[in-house]
């Protein structure tokens, strides 16, 4: 008996997840034909709570693309893959403390800040490098026009609060 109930509530939970996925998808379905531009898939996946890196994202896209890529992703292919990701809770977001630690790795002498040049260097030369646009946008939020430093602790706090 209890098993059945559990099963039922699990099914309900999955159904709910599927509705969430559909909603997020529809926001970008501009032509209302159950497809979105492949370039928006990253946005959709991330706004559903997941935090894949670029490499993982590319793999995901490959999974949901047509055999002959059309530049569009169909909902029918996207839904099962995305639902699975949510059920399995993959690509979890990064906790604040870990993020802070990452900044501290880049600031080994523990000054509490990074210079603009340092930030640019790391973000555009290391990891999965930013495009120029991404770099400019990050700078505009992180550093005031006169300043040359990013106090990363404050920066993180500001961004995290903004999210909530």
């Amino acid at each position: 008996m209890a098993d059945e109930k559990e099963k039922e509530s699990a099914e309900l939970a999955v159904a709910d997840l599927q509705r969430k996925v559909r909603e997020a998808f529809e926001v970008f379905d501009h032509e209302l034909n159950n497809t979105v531009d492949v370039r928006e898939i990253g946005t959709i996946i991330r706004s559903l709570g997941c935090c894949p890196n670029e490499g993982e994202l590319h793999d995901l896209i490959a999974e949901v693309e047509e055999e002959e890529p059309t530049g569009y992703i169909r909902f029918e292919k996207f839904l099962p893959v995305m639902t699975n990701i949510l059920v399995e809770k993959r690509y979890r977001p990064i906790p604040e403390e870990i993020l802070l630690q990452a900044f501290e790795v880049l600031d080994p002498t523990k000054r509490g800040f990074l210079s603009k040049e340092e930030l640019i260097k790391y973000m555009t030369e290391e990891g999965e490098p930013f495009s120029q646009e991404e770099m400019e946008e990050m700078l505009s939020a992180a550093i005031g026009p006169e300043s040359n430093f990013i106090h990363y602790r404050d920066y993180i706090t500001m961004m995290v609060i903004d999210e909530n």
């Binding site: 509705r19 909603e23 926001v27 032509e31 209302l32 946005t43 990452a102 880049l106 990891g127 903004d162």
Partner: protein, 763 residues
Amino acid sequence: MGSGASTHHHFAFQNAEKAFKAAALIQRWYRRYMARLEMRRQCTWSIFQSMEYAGQQDQVKLHDFFSYLVDHFTPSSHNERDFLNRMFTEERVPRDSEVEKCSDYESIEVPDNYTGPRLSFPLLPDHATALVEAFRLKQQLHARYVLNLLHETRKHLVQLPNINRVSTCYSEEITVCGDLHGQLDDLIFIFYKNGLPSPERAYVFNGDFVDRGKDSVEILMVLFAFMLVYPKEFHLNRGNHEDHMVNLRYGFTKEVMQKYKTHGKKILQRLQDVFCWLPLATLVDEKVLILHGGVSDTTDLELLSKLDRHKIVSTLRCKTRKENEKQAEEKGKAKQTSSAGSLSPWFLLQSRSLPSSPLHLSSHKTHKGGRSSSVPCSIPLNPRGLSRQARRSVDLELERCRQQAGFPVIKEKEEPWVFNPEADSADGELLEPSQEEWRQVVDILWSDPMAQEGCKANTVRGGGCYFGPNVTKQLLQKYNLQFLIRSHECKPEGYEFCHSRKVLTIFSASNYYAVGSNRGAYVKLGPALTPHIVQYQANKATHMLTMRQRISRVEESALRALRGKLFAHSSDLLEEFKKHDNGNTGLITLSDWAAAVESVLHLGLPWRMLRPQLVNSSTDNMLEYKSWLEDLAKERLSHENIQSSLLETLYRNRSNLETIFRIIDSDHSGFISLDEFRQTWKLFSSHMKMDITDDGICDLARSIDFNKDGHIDINEFLEAVRLVEQSCSEGNASDCPQATNTKGSGSWPATEDSLVSVTQVAS
């Protein structure tokens, strides 16, 4: 353990690896953050669009109401008859001959202490430039000059063809601008950035100069002035808002009456005439067609060139030859026959086979996809062709409504009520447009492009159609054109290409929904008529904000408006929530909440995505819906003496009621009597099946009459139902284009400077 050197390498390598990983982590986190920001931006846009469309469907409801009255209502008393006649009798439109002779502005004296701009005719370029400058300094043009300018404008427009043909040989460049909607800042910016009009710099303004924004009058004055100064290089197209019926609802009428208390009515009358004389389209080098809305699969440029555009007074009201004949038949004998019987004011747009009532209202999301029922375009359904049976059942329904409304039951069959036709019918001037002509004009002023092939009724707007890429291709081929420029729809970037770049939408009112909501744009046509787009956003404040802050602010505007809408449907929502609450626990799941809200509001919005911002008090995924609704109400109530549920109903129907009142207030005094208010309310509420008692109505009327003088100031009414939004008073009122002014002061909060100080940064 190796030698020192290799250990050093080892550590260095480790450090490098750590740095690499750290950077990758930060990037990963940041990209997610940006994605969520993008999603919020899209959702915000969806909110604004869906509410705008919902507003248009409001208009559809109103027309429905009127057509229902026209078709079926039989007044039972002299009072009622009078009242309805007042609502429906057309204002007497002055004859062309009268208007031409009329130079009544000459009798208007300009006081000595008037410091505003002065005009003398014929206008010189300097005058026009000085006018722009004067308006930039917030001066107002005296009524005398306004009327004078309108008089001259009319004289000029009358000579123009329906489709203006323009050539780029004479001027080096042509700039095309889209909707301005009363936003003078944008116009000033365009002239500043692109240069003032001149013989070398041609302009085309593609309609919708007025409504919503606060400086529609000034925009018109500037546009008309330049048109008179540079008649060969400065061109205007009519938009769907260049229409006195639309102006009643969307703010232009109000703006004129507020700015010109003594002469406003006359100005409005002249404008009504001037609007009808605006050309319908502009053709550049026989290659680029510029018109306001779009086209349909039946668009016929030859027909459009030949028809008498002046007779299309309003695209909302179709008084056509064929219809009049039918009406005369069906209403039985008419007292006066010369004008072929009754008119049908405020009819639902009849361009496609939309039934006159009730219209199936679709959410804006469904309109373009294949989900809404596609109506074949070529079959015009005459609503008068309603079967006898249908009419009888409607009569029964009518009877019930009347009883509900408290009107006495009609014992005997009264004489069918016939509208009083226009007084001066005999002068042979009244050759109304044919149904086909009217439809052609509605199509080009109201249609929107869609991605799918085909052509179908535009059920969201209530008129015109949605036209697909094949329709565009067909038209361009038929008339040997290169592409189409149109406006009519707000776009985030101020412009948008579609149909394989054969259709360009250009929209020039930046920050249309809220500060920061969208850019404006204009397009310059170069030598081979290649389009070159320039974008802008006329608000200093937004440039200083980061993307994050900009998006937050616009989002806050949207959410505020959305919460208002939710409040306006509190009763329906409560009912719907209860359905999901089987055990009567007072709780529902968040998933149920989302489903319920959509089924009541029909906005097609991503409620689950929006939920965190709309519901902040839920535990364990469950929501106490009653207290959530109460919280919504608390934010909104500004007058405790008006019962909450009544207020809700008023608020929900605010826009329609305001329009009805303005129609009743035919002399634009700004007042209607308590009695008129009650009668209007009775009729309207019975049609809308609202549950309000007679006493309730009286109480409402009395409580709105704030100064107890037996009259209701229309603005009092608006104030009562405006439901003060706290942040509006901080100067964000201009964020909400549909928010109404308080106390008819007519002056919006100061512009850029005050907005800088209001930043919604979460802290």
